[in-house]
Amino acid sequence: MGLFRKDPENLSDERLMELVVRGQEQAFATLFDRYRRQMLTYFHRMLWQDRERAQDFLQELFIKLAQQPASYQQGRPFRTWLYSMANNMCKNEYRRMAVRAAAVPALKVLNNHAVEPDGGARVDHEHFNARLQDELDKLDPDHKATFVMRYQEDMAIKEIAASFGISEGTVKSRLFYTVRKLAAALPEFDPNPKQRTAPATGQ
């Protein structure tokens, strides 16, 4: 604590990042502790729910931050900057896996979740997650990342827009069409199947 006038836990992310640029290890450790769960969850969801791979990516992300702290742009929100880096890493991983799958078809990542819901709440929950993940993997990486950030990471539209460097309207539009596509691809979770074919009538 001698290095700080205030408790680093009370400092903002941006202030901590300034201290990291100056070589303060405690500030770096505080940032890591603050974001390790969020980023691990994000990598876990983006990378086929592979826990080991998610941990590797978490470590790689913060090692990049340790080696090049000056790459952080002063004044930019740290959280969106961190998610932007994480998203780029995921996109690179998608490309790498696509190349590998094209070269060796046997290694193609296929999550064949053929679990039929048996009515139990736990199984239904797992089945939904598995099906959702399958459909998410079929999406464009940017659309998938947008969906995960919004509905699984609970990020605000503004933060997502800042992470991608796009407008908020683009984020909203992207979310709308992603939800509609996913809903169409997951008909088994329709709570009212009878309405599936019923035409809507404006009352």
Partner: protein, 276 residues
């Protein structure tokens, strides 16, 4: 709800999400249903999308917390420490490895080559510096130059002194006697009293030791000068000239050449300044 009804035209397709999360299709107002159906195909689409979003909300709250292994934290912090480590230590490590090689036998050839090159460079520099020091190291030097002095008929010239410098010559000239020029051709010079006194001082005091004959000649010269000043210049008689001629001959006979050219202290200073 009222707020959404007041500005229905400000809806964008993405704003349907708020409606989905709040109410089912049957619970929407007529204007809201009309707006939804402008962007969706049917009420069923609305219901499916709403179900998906509600699932997502439920899953988000049900998601078990995940955490990274402590080893990940340790690796990350170690990477940070290594990045912050001063680079000069790495440099010193490489120097130490060079200074204490594992197999010194591999180093004798490059060491010998480096030593020879160093000796050659040092020797060349020393020779070069020695040459330049001998040429440029002195403050001033005296060089013998030939000075053309116009012949003067009345000159009682001293023998060449070997240091034919202007200042030396001027000093020499100051010791000369008035020229025994023809009386009609050359008007009688008016030797200034100060100049004559200076001659006397130089001859008696500033000059190096002199012999007694020269001293007596100087004294006689002083007497002649005094007589000359006292006499009217326009009516200088022959006796004075003859006497001056006689004294001058005596002086030239006894005066050493080196003494005639002996420079004073101020002359030497002027010489040094000119050389500098």
């Amino acid at each position: 709800m009222n707020a959404t009804m007041e500005r229905p035209e400000r809806y964008a397709p993405e704003d349907i999400e708020h409606l989905m999360l709040e109410r089912g299709f049957d619970e929407l107002l007529a204007e809201e249903k009309a707006y939804v159906l402008r962007h969706l195909e049917s009420a069923a689409d609305y219901t499916r999308m709403r179900a998906l979003l509600l699932h997502m909300q439920e899953e988000g709250s049900r998601q078990p917390p995940v955490d990274a292994d402590p080893a990940v934290r340790e690796h990350v912090l170690q990477a940070f420490r290594e990045q912050q480590r001063p680079q000069w230590r790495i440099w010193l490590n490489s120097v130490a490895a060079f200074m204490a090689p594992a197999r010194p036998v591999h180093y004798w050839r490059p060491a010998l080559a480096l030593g020879v090159v160093t000796l050659l460079i040092t020797g060349s520099l020393s020779v070069w510096q020695a040459i330049h020091r001998s040429e440029k190291g002195m403050v001033a030097s005296l060089k013998e130059t030939e000075v053309q002095t116009p012949p003067r008929p009345a000159e009682v010239s001293a023998p060449p002194t070997g240091t034919a410098h202007g200042a030396t010559e001027a000093a020499t000239e100051q010791t000369e006697m008035p020229a025994p020029a023809p009386r009609q051709a050359v008007p009688a010079p008016a030797p200034p009293t100060a100049a004559l006194a200076d001659i006397a001082v130089r001859s008696a005091g500033a000059a190096p030791p002199m012999d007694s004959s020269w001293s007596s000649s100087a004294t006689a010269l002083m007497e002649v000068a005094a007589e000359t000043i006292a006499a009217d210049q326009d009516h200088m008689d022959d006796a004075v000239f003859a006497k001056a001629e006689k004294v001058d001959a005596t002086a030239r006979k006894h005066a050493p050449a080196t003494l005639m050219a002996a420079p004073s202290e101020s002359d030497l200073l002027g010489l040094l300044r000119a050389a500098w």
